[in-house]
């Protein structure tokens, strides 16, 4: 099954430190196998498009998982896997993702403010054209009253803009998912994560995950 796997620089597992065999001119990387005696849910972890943004790291790889593949809430697990190809995920793509997420949250916050008659604050958010400006304006809206739910939504936008500004994109995706959860609940948070994954897949023209590999 085709799946995706974020790795640290040098094709290294970010949590295990495992150095993955990478593809060569003659074909995909070597299969990596988890010993059968290992704990049942341990294995080769990868993910589908909708879960990509949970696992952002330096490198994104298109991987193949051998059947059977176990699906958990936000990742896939198999006893065997291999790297097929490195995707064009790069720092500048991550920065663009952070910006896209932040302005999407800005638009959503402005809609909520508009729907509640707070047109001036909504207009102020919508007039921002840069992350720095948005960070300042959203903070001004959110600061005066911490118990004001609507103002608090602007606080999420301010936080997202702050982290987007310094390139901490994994944190931005998290904040924006939490913004969605705060404004519309858990399903909205999952939808936001799925949108983030689709953004990555479309930008990088990734193959469809979940299908069988033809390599």
């Amino acid at each position: 099954m085709i799946a995706f796997k974020f790795l640290a620089s040098g094709a290294v597992g970010p949590f295990t430190g495992f150095a993955w065999p990478t593809p060569t001119s003659s074909g995909p990387g070597a299969w990596v196998e988890v010993p059968p005696e290992s704990i049942p849910d341990r294995g080769i972890h990868a993910c589908l498009t909708e879960h990509l943004s949970f696992w952002l790291d330096d490198e994104l790889w298109i991987a193949e998982l051998a059947d059977p593949v176990q699906r958990s809430s936000d990742q896939l697990i198999s006893s065997r896997g291999r790297l097929l190809q490195r995707a064009a995920w790069a720092r500048e793509v991550a920065i663009d993702l952070g910006q896209a997420c932040t302005f999407k949250a800005r638009d959503a916050a402005a809609r909520v403010l508009q729907n509640n008659g707070r047109l001036r604050e909504a207009d102020r958010l919508l007039s921002c054209s840069s992350l720095v400006e948005l960070q300042g304006v959203a903070r001004e809206i959110s600061e005066p009253c911490k118990t004001d739910f609507l103002a608090n939504l602007a606080g999420y936008v301010a936080d997202a803009a702050t982290f987007a500004n310094v390139g901490e994109v994994a944190t931005v995706t998290y904040i924006v998912a939490e913004f969605a959860r705060a404004s519309a609940g858990a399903i909205a948070a999952a939808s936001e994560r799925a949108w983030q994954g689709r953004w990555i897949a479309e930008r990088l023209k990734l193959p469809r995950a979940g299908e069988h590999a033809t390599v």
Binding site: R42, F54, S73, E168, T171, T173
Partner: protein, 84 residues
């Protein structure tokens, strides 16, 4: 950062769970939450790296690697600490 059914971990909880994580005794759900926190928290990722590095270095230590005066000094300090 979850699919909505379980709350996120705070940095403090990551520090508390790091031993269980390294000993692979966390449940699947706990481990996923732990790793999802690491994915967004550079500080905790660095903390885990340091703990792993400390464990690796400790494994390489042997009695012979300790200079006699350092060993005596440590033993004296330990005895004083034990004596209260």
């Amino acid at each position: 950062m979850t699919n909505g059914s379980t709350p996120d971990l705070a940095c403090k909880e990551v520090v508390e769970l790091v031993t269980e994580y390294l000993e692979q005794t966390l449940s699947h759900n706990e481990r996923t939450r732990f790793e999802q926190h690491l994915a967004i928290c550079g500080g905790c990722k660095e903390y885990l790296r340091e703990i792993r590095s400390t464990i690796d270095l400790s494994r390489k230590l042997s009695q012979g690697a300790l200079a006699p005066n350092v060993r005596d000094e440590l033993l004296t300090l330990f005895r004083k600490w034990k004596a209260g």
